[in-house]
Amino acid sequence: MYKFYPKIFAQPPGRAAKLLLIMKLNVLLIIFGILQVSASTLAQKITLSEKNAPIETVFEKIRLQSGYDFMITASVLKSARPVNIQVTNADLSAVLNAIFQSQPLEYQLKDNAVLVKIKSPTTFERIKSYFSEIDVTGSIVDPNYVPLSGVYVQIKGTNRGTTTNNNGVFTIKNVEPGSVLVISMMGYEKKEVLADKPVLGNINLVVSTSKLDEVQVIAYGTTTQRTSVGSTSKITSEELSSQMVINPLAALEGRVPGLLVTTGNGAPGAAFKIQIRGQNTLGSVVGSRTPDAPLFIIDGIPFAPQNLSINRLQTFSDANGVGQPGGGISPFDNIDPANIESIEVLKDADATSIYGARGANGVILITTKQGKTGKTQLSGRVFNSINTISRSMPLLNTQQYLQMRKDALSNDGLTANNNPGTPGFAPDLLIFDQNRYSNYLNEFFGESSATQNASVALSGGDFLNTYYVGLNYGRQTYLFPGGFSTNRADGVMKLHHNSLNRKFSVDLSAGYAYSLNNAPGSPSTVSSYTLAPNFPDLRNADGSMRWDINGVNLLSYISSGVNPLAYQLMKNRVAAASFNTSMLLSYEMLPGLKFKTNLGYNNFITNEYLITPKDAQNPLFSPQSTASKSISNAYVWNIEPQLSYDKQIGRNRLSFLVGGTLQQQDNNNVSLSATNFSNDLLINSIASAATVTVQNSNSPYKYNAGFARATYNYDSRYLLSLNGRIDGSSRFAPGKQWGKFGSVGAGWVISQEKFFKDLLDYVSFAKLRASYGTTGNDNVGNYQYTSNWSQVAAGYLYNGQLGYTPKNLANPDFSWSTTKKLEGGLELAFLKDRLVFTGSWYRNRSSNQLIGYQLPMQTGFSTVVQNFPAVVQNTGWEFALSGNMIKGKALNWRSAFNITIPKNKLVAFPGIESTPYANYLIVGQPVSILRGYKYAGINPATGVYQFETASGAVTSAPLAVNRDNMFNIGSQDPKLYGGFRNTFDYKGFQFDIFLEYRKQKGYNYMREQNNPTGYMNNVPMDALNTWNSAGDNAQYQRLTTQSFGTAVTNAFIYYKMSDAVLTDASYIRLKTVSLSYNFKPALLEKMHISGFRAYVNAQNLYTITKYKGNDPETQIFYGIPPLRNISLGLDFNF
């Protein structure tokens, strides 16, 4: 029995007592071993046959044969060398002499014990050992023989080591023969090499398959989950490419804990709402919400349009209104997911605080693909999809509809008449064909659309240069006829070059993308799908738009007076060109000391042309053709010089980074609106209009920062990270421009501790981490600190003279808002990292909110920009579990699950009572709290909705000036959300299934009904569950043909503002299902193809929900729900 006194090194003091206890235990055990020995009968002759055996094994065998105990400390044991011995029936002393001859150890016999200690070397031995030690040199390379610099090479069991230079070469002097070198590098598997000769040649490192070693891109560098103390989630190109989507943002939905992605609507090119860890700021308008979008950075350069819709003129995608978050056309439609290597979502203070002012709402880093050393590869993907709407509500057919109308009329005590504008006007019952049936739902969005997409990429390179060239073309049509589609073509190019001595490197990237969205100019197209099902044909026999029905103008039937099909004649052609280029220069001045400069420029130009021809307008109003043109040019350039220093000293790895950011951006726009074209044929030429007015705007923004980061890593066990940043922004008044932000993060990899390894050997990795820090926000308009006047409106003169109007209330005092982020996390890996668990808890507190503070209009303006005293808190839990459930030769099953449980709360709002927010916000409740009436069922006698008042009474008209009768009716924020992915590989087949889920409340379809049920428009079948006579227990109130001014119609308005329409909108969506087949390499080789994959893929295949409405995610009744796409595709690789 042998026990070793463990050597204590750098243990935290708190652990000492426990270790002492372990030591005591060891002594006891040794004594026990001695007692045991004395009791046994012992043979004195020893027989051994060992080759390269650990000394402790040899001792054990001798003990068993001789009964002698060995006493040795752990540190002494460490210097022992493997034993080679071949003896038969030898004396103990002879055996020991033979063993110790080749050991740096000596022994002493005492009673029945052998005491082992370090040999005190003789002078001769010292001289001899000096000459036997060798200088070892070698070169560390990756699997493609690309030299790896900065790799740490350590002599095992010592603190001696070195890092490789730029060429991957290391030299360690005076290595004792037989020493083992431990080679470790982020992202690669640890390797041990015997230092048995002076030149070791190339040593290949193998890329780690553990998720923990996957390289994560972070601010100004990279890291791995194993060594990071921040909260970063990564989506790989594999996961992106498992989904057949045009817009990369669509591929993020449900995939990242803490990231909430919501589809705006199902129109091609439509934008997405994106939010990391909840709403940090209050709405800029009482009751509204600002988007709080994260910062998007592509290859180190801020993306000029960020996630704002690119269109300024109205398009079909604006179902939520022009410029609303999640409305309009997404700028990310210009980016091909196939060219993306990874998307990293940075969440906590450690990960984001180096972005300072821009990191408050989290950061999303998009890294594009880079060439890899190796043979030239041509890879590509082609797919075609058929798209249909995923979910809609069936509407009444003609019979049901007419019956509803008749019932409604009789409820109102009216008889149908034919006089427009009078109560009882019912052309649908009197004039329209009683047997005609059009399914307008199908007419407006029942068709299918098609997507075509093709991407190819050429890449390759040698040790010093790599390149990547990618090309893409994609096209998606709209759901209805008219030739509407969105098209994209883009090309990217990336070059990497290293100087021969590898001290200097340059990365160049350039990408150009052009998209053209031929969109209908008005979202009102679909809002007309609720036309009466027997509404006469909207076209005349000759195919032209119909504007009157039996001599009565359409105005009498459709309140807007516009033929719904005419909206399709209003076309908005949105062309967007984005140009992205960057250059990263890097020079290693001293080993570990690098100077880098990142130079980038991003330009996004949108050119729109919206036409409203005469044909699209009711001729009654003697219309004129109009057209608008808008050209927006958004650009960002930034320069980021950085100086970094990395140093490994023993087991201590230190790195420092200091740098600066110079950024300038502008978003300027010129809009022209033209009326009165001489001829509709010339409507596409704005110069042909009689009247053209011009407007322009610009918003220059300059931003300047200095930043620094220090990280410390001891033995991959203790991790520390410090970040600091000083930011200056042009959005603040002089004196208020500078803000300081910083963070501290620490991690403890418990699994590196010996005691942990002994205790839980199935846990291969365990890390506790925490971070705290501040980030800021300067998300306000420019020039808000001065009082600005501008021309009232273009072309509006007063008797030929110019007129100015004030634009804002000046407030020179506002400055940075800050978000304090606190996070704790636990990361565990089991079974050799096959199963990886990440759990995080976060708390973000935003204060000094920078928003338009609401003012009564008696001040002249509705808002003034100022720092706000409110503190908004977002807390939450995020869990992710991923693993290789089955790793067999034939079957491979990978699984990934994530869940986010967010909670938003208004923590403090001093003086809220005397602010306009008192009626909207409640301290202690989420900022998204909705105030509404409390539904109290239907009055059984009158059949009218009733609501509870503050005093507890029940009424059908609960209006009170101070919103006294409005209650907290809940929030639309998700209670939890996440996704679950499973991938099965079996003999070349791959089956991938991804479920996205969300638990939330949302407005049901009743919220968007313009008129009470019974009015002259179609309704979903569900709406017919109405009260008919006293005592009915129905869901909806009595039918009425009126749209305003009666008790029933008023109650309908209150109903839409009540908790009755805020219902469960939770869902589980079968987001992605795909089945693919990888053709066997043997088969392909003959055809000189290295990879070929064919697949069928479905997006949004099915949704499980109780939601009453078209889609629980978009929650828009008059808009296209997310589409269901079924794609067929091929991936190839030459």
Binding site: S622, G728, Y798, T859, G1045
Partner: protein, 463 residues
């Protein structure tokens, strides 16, 4: 280490760090140029062009915000006209119907935008007053003109706020820290401030002896407004004096009724020019149906239709009818043009005109016992409309005749009828015949949204 050129490396490092520190601290890098499409307030009141543009902006805004959402340029006419017995909304728009039914909800958006717009203009007027008064570079004559016009406008806005809402916050500064918490002022404080502002405006504008520019607030517009305010405050002598000053000035009643609302008409004291390119007045656009087959959005009530005496040419000149099916709809037709492409507008929006001054003086004269003088003034207006002299005799009869005359002469113009009924305490008697009439309906509700935004505001009784 020595194999690197350490001196140059160290130099490089120091240079880089210095450069970055320099970068990080350089304020120049965060200075942005002045906005291209706006001017800061300190540039406005420096020269005459910009300073004049500042006050022009108010006129443009008043003429631009009109179409169902404003204060000037049709909205006062519509909302007050609907509330009184002048017109009805045939388009059945809920917002307007509430005014017609005298059952305005606190959430009515027309009421809200009406209120909001007046206060927007009030801010602009105050900004002009403050900016011009503080300017050291403007000539004193320009300063006087700007401050005079702005003070008049401030009084004008407060006058309408007071008469339509009972009382309202009295806004005399642009400082939002002050104005955001203002409660409704006492009515007497408002009356005093209105008079003070008008008197001051008169002082400031009287110095300007140049020809009257009708499309701006001018010295006679101030006097005319003083006549009206004094009439409302029953300061008969002052009302008469002011009205006389206008009547004896260079204004004449326009003999041809169809021409009264043309630009630069001799009857007009202050009229505002339409600003939307190619368009005429908003009232023309709202009241005149876009097509002859369309039901007009606003129709005059049978009561108003029958208030015209036989032979009153105003009935044929200033009203028009359209027959659709079995129904005939009559709508206001003082403004006769909708669109006048490519030329400057031919009609202008009348705010103050001479006929009202005759009627003011007539009323003031009756109240002071000058019956013949009153009848003479009344007859000037009647004769122009093709009517014979009044047959009324005795103070009460003449007063009633003046009110009848005001009703038809000033019909569908700036809410005169509604405010006359209120100031003569006859609203209950006349409007009591409307189905939902309540005494409290004489005041519009303060918009709920504004009460929520300013907890110091109180609602009018009955809402």
């Amino acid at each position: 280490m020595m194999k690197y050129n350490s001196i140059s490396t160290i130099f490089c490092t120091v240079a880089c760090i210095t450069a970055m520190l320099h970068l990080a601290s350089c304020r120049k890098f965060i200075e942005i140029p002045a906005p291209i499409n706006s001017i800061t307030s300190d540039q406005i009141f420096v020269d005459s062009v910009n300073a004049t543009a500042a006050i022009n902006g108010i006129y443009i805004n008043m003429m631009n915000n009109g179409f169902s959402t404003g204060f000037a340029n049709s909205t006062t006419t519509m909302l007050a006209g609907l509330s009184a017995d002048e017109m009805d909304n045939a388009a059945n728009t809920a917002n307007y119907k509430e005014f017609f039914a005298n059952n305005i909800t606190g959430t009515n958006t027309s009421n809200l935008t009406f209120w909001n717009n007046i206060y927007t203009y009030l801010y602009e007027a105050n900004a002009c007053i403050e900016g011009a008064e503080a300017s050291t570079t403007l000539t004193s004559s320009l300063k006087n003109r700007i401050v005079g016009e702005a003070k008049f406008l401030r009084a004008f806005y407060h006058f309408y706020l007071m008469n339509l809402y009972g009382s309202a916050p009295l806004v005399l500064t642009t400082d939002y820290t002050v104005t955001s918490k203002l409660p409704r002022a006492d009515r007497s404080a408002m009356e005093m401030q209105i008079l003070a502002d008008l008197n001051e405006a008169q002082q400031l504008l009287n110095g300007d002896r140049s020809a009257i520019t009708k499309n701006r607030v001018n010295r006679f517009a101030v006097t005319a407004m003083l006549a009206r305010v004094n009439l409302y405050q029953q300061q008969w002598a002052a009302a008469e004096t002011a009205a006389t000053a206008v009547i004896t000035a260079n204004f004449r009643l326009e003999p041809i009724l169809n021409n009264v609302f043309l630009t630069n008409n001799q009857e007009q004291i202050w009229q505002m020019t339409p600003v939307a390119p190619g368009l005429e007045t908003t009232e023309g656009q709202i009241f005149i149906p876009a097509a002859p087959t369309l039901v007009p959005a606003f129709v005059i009530t049978p009561a108003l239709n029958s208030a015209y005496e036989n032979g009153d040419q105003r009935k044929t000149s200033w009203l028009r009818s359209v027959t659709i099916g079995a129904n005939t709809y009559t709508y206001p037709f003082k403004y006769k043009l909708i669109r006048d492409n490519n030329t400057s507008p031919r009609e202008a929006y009348s705010v103050l005109r001479l006929a009202e001054q005759y009627l003011i003086r007539a009323e003031a004269r009756v109240q002071q016992g000058n019956l013949s003088g009153a009848a003479a003034d009344l007859n000037v207006v009647r004769n122009r409309a093709g009517l014979a002299n009044t047959t009324a005799s005795g103070p009460s009869e003449i007063l009633a005749a003046i009110q009848r005359e005001r009703r038809v002469e000033l019909a569908c113009e700036w809410g005169h009828r509604w405010m006359d009924l209120k100031r003569t305490q006859t609203a209950d008697a006349v409007l009591g015949t409307k189905p939902n009439w309540k005494a409290t309906a004489t005041l519009f509700p303060i918009p709920n949204a504004q009460i929520i935004l300013n907890p110091f505001l109180t609602q009018n009784p009955g809402y």
